[in-house]
């Protein structure tokens, strides 16, 4: 296994990279103008966080790679994002549900990371947390609004939750990387954050009149990099195309 710290930083940066990319796919085609602006804001925040995480990953790795080299020149098996964030946008409801499920984890995780024994990580977490707190507020309101809206919006949000809930569990699985970081006080044990996450979900979904699926089956393979979904390859083909086609160019 490669250096756990490098793995961890790639996980953080790849989550925001892949989700930021997905959200940016909405550019110009949102349901209302205010949503175009808000989605672009979220994508911008996530891309900014990506730069911080992946630059630090490159520094830790010590092989001269920066955030762009990591984002645009790795292939699918080197990506460490959770499967949830690479799922396609679907309709606006699915995009918002994916964002809410991620934001709720992200906020809890960043909050804990603020007291990381690694000062650089704590600083990135503190900066990101300000943005993510707002992301969660917005997606909470939207999930409640659409869940408790019309019959159609309710059904669409329930479908989105049913479709995406099997990807929640992976965010809370603990593996050897997590154990190593947790032992050094760098990052929390993800499993320890699950109870507060579940409490938040119960509260929000009850207001949204949505039912949390009974099965807690969880797909895995994203954060370990062992088995991503087919969707990620298509995203990388698009995202990395210019850098791959013109490797000598500076943009």
């Amino acid at each position: 296994m490669s250096d756990p710290l490098f793995e961890f930083l790639c996980r953080m940066g790849d989550n925001t990279l892949v989700l930021g990319h997905r959200v940016s796919e909405w550019c110009g085609v949102a349901p209302v103008l205010e949503e175009d602006i808000a989605l672009a804001n979220t994508a911008l925040d996530l891309i900014g966080q990506t730069t911080l995480w992946l630059n630090l990953a490159g520094e830790v790795e010590g092989k001269g790679r920066n955030a762009d080299a990591l984002a645009f020149r790795r292939d699918i098996w080197d990506f460490r994002n959770v499967l949830l964030v690479e799922q396609p946008n679907g309709d606006f409801g699915q995009t918002m549900m994916r964002q809410f499920l991620f934001d709720a984890w992200h906020k809890a995780y960043l909050t804990a990371l603020q007291s990381s024994s690694n000062a650089q990580i704590a600083a990135i977490a503190e900066k990101s947390l300000k943005e993510v707190t707002y992301h969660l507020e917005r997606t909470t309101d939207t999930v409640i609004g659409l869940g408790d809206g019309t019959d159609e919006s309710h059904d669409r949000m329930q479908n989105a939750l049913d479709r995406l809930y099997p990807y929640v569990g992976e965010m809370f699985t603990s593996d050897t990387v997590d154990a190593a970081l947790s032992a050094e006080g760098i990052a929390p044990d993800p499993a320890s954050l699950r109870p507060q996450y579940d409490t938040l979900l119960r509260d929000v979904f009850s207001q949204a009149t949505l039912t949390i699926p009974a099965s807690d089956f969880a797909h895995k393979g994203g954060k370990s990099g062992q088995r991503h979904s087919e969707h990620l390859g298509h995203m990388l083909a698009q995202m990395q195309w210019l850098q791959r086609a013109y490797p000598d160019a500076i943009w």
């Binding site: 990279l17 990319h21 940016s24 796919e25 550019c27 110009g28 085609v29 949102a30 349901p31 209302v32 103008l33 205010e34 949503e35 175009d36 602006i37 672009a40 804001n41 994508a43 911008l44 891309i47 900014g48 990506t50 730069t51 955030a67 762009d68 984002a71 645009f72 309709d91 606006f92 409801g93 939207t142 409640i144 609004g145 659409l146 408790d148 809206g149 019309t150 159609e152 919006s153 309710h154 669409r156 698009q238 995202m239 195309w241 210019l242 850098q243 013109y246 000598d248 160019a249 500076i250 943009w251």
Partner: protein, 330 residues
């Protein structure tokens, strides 16, 4: 500005003596450099012309998201992706201020949106052209935003207060957009052979469509004469086009790129460049909906609006439920 061929009253400009007292006071206020505010009296023609002009500008910002949005997911670095996203976000914001400015004239954003989606109202011809390479992101910022700024800067002094104020903010952002476009062009023009070819190709494709953005010569147009008397149009199309060419040619030289016009020549007597007119038949074809991307753009906007219907309805229904729950609790 992204407004072309805006129709006004279609009648000649009246002299002050021909006006009734109300209209005369209105015109004198404009002549003295005063601002007209939403609650002030205004001629119906002034109001309608402004709605057409501001509406077309707003629609252009909205549709204008699409050709650049086309490259956000393929931007070559994280920084370029962030800059492009921020730029497209600014355009959505411009659309929003402009719709708000139009609303002060008594037309709703929903109505204007419907008029765009049914094709009743137009948007700038430029957004019906495709963006094919990354250099096009440079060319759009450099040329398209550059042409827009030519018109928007004087409009900061336009007679209608809300429009003038919206334009102040828009101009600040547009000039940033133009600089970032030029920055992309510099990287491309000074880059590899392939990048230089992309840059030249982008200039070749965007040069004449950018000249068309100012619209055909309106020296004889009664519509433009009225709009200029009302100070909702500050310069003729030819004046602005000339200014744009004079500004852009040295920039192209600096980049080492060639403007695709064999007749382009410095005219010592005029102190300006002589240049070839764009193909106005192509321009009118584009306005008729026959631009290379006209159908794609309208389909994309209509699809976004139709797909978003359930979201708008859902959020509205929720707001109403919340209101009635709050009332029941009181």
């Amino acid at each position: 500005m992204y407004a072309q061929m805006i129709k006004s009253t279609g009648k000649g400009v009246k002299s002050l003596d021909e006006m009734d007292p109300e209209e005369r006071a209105f015109q004198e206020r404009i002549n003295a450099g005063g601002k007209i505010e939403p609650k002030d009296w205004m001629p119906e023609g002034y109001r309608k012309t402004l709605i057409r002009q501001i509406g077309q500008h707003a629609h252009s910002e909205i549709v204008g998201q699409l050709p650049e949005g086309n490259w956000i997911t393929r931007a070559p670095t994280l920084e370029r992706k962030a800059i492009l996203l921020a730029k497209v976000q600014d355009e959505a914001g411009h659309g929003l201020y402009l719709y708000c400015a139009a609303e002060t004239l008594g037309v709703s954003r929903d109505q204007l949106t419907r008029d765009l989606l049914t094709g009743k109202m137009k948007y700038s011809s430029i957004f019906n052209y495709p963006t094919l390479t990354w250099a096009d992101m440079g060319a759009v910022g450099w040329l398209v935003d550059g042409a827009a700024i030519m018109n928007q800067v004087p409009l900061q002094r336009t007679s209608y207060g809300p429009y003038a104020r919206a334009m102040v903010r828009i101009c600040k952002e547009e000039s940033f957009h133009q600089r970032q476009g030029f920055d992309i062009m510099m990287k491309m023009a000074n880059g590899t052979q392939a990048q230089r070819e992309m840059a030249q190709d982008a200039l070749n494709r965007f040069w004449y469509p950018s000249l068309m953005m100012f619209g055909p010569s309106d020296a004889e147009s009664v519509h433009s004469a009225q709009s200029m008397a009302w100070k909702i149009k500050m310069n003729t199309n030819d004046e602005l086009r000339q200014k744009f060419v004079d500004q852009t040619v040295p920039q192209a030289e600096y980049l080492g790129l060639k403007i695709p016009d064999e007749h382009l020549k410095w005219n010592e007597d005029r102190g300006s460049y002589d240049f070839s007119e764009p193909d106005w038949d192509e321009f009118f074809d584009v306005l008729q909906g026959n631009g290379p991307c006209s159908r794609d753009r309208m389909e994309a906007r209509n699809k976004a609006w139709d797909d978003g219907r359930w979201v708008r309805e859902g959020l509205l229904a929720h707001a109403q439920k919340k209101r009635s729950r709050n009332m029941a609790a009181e």
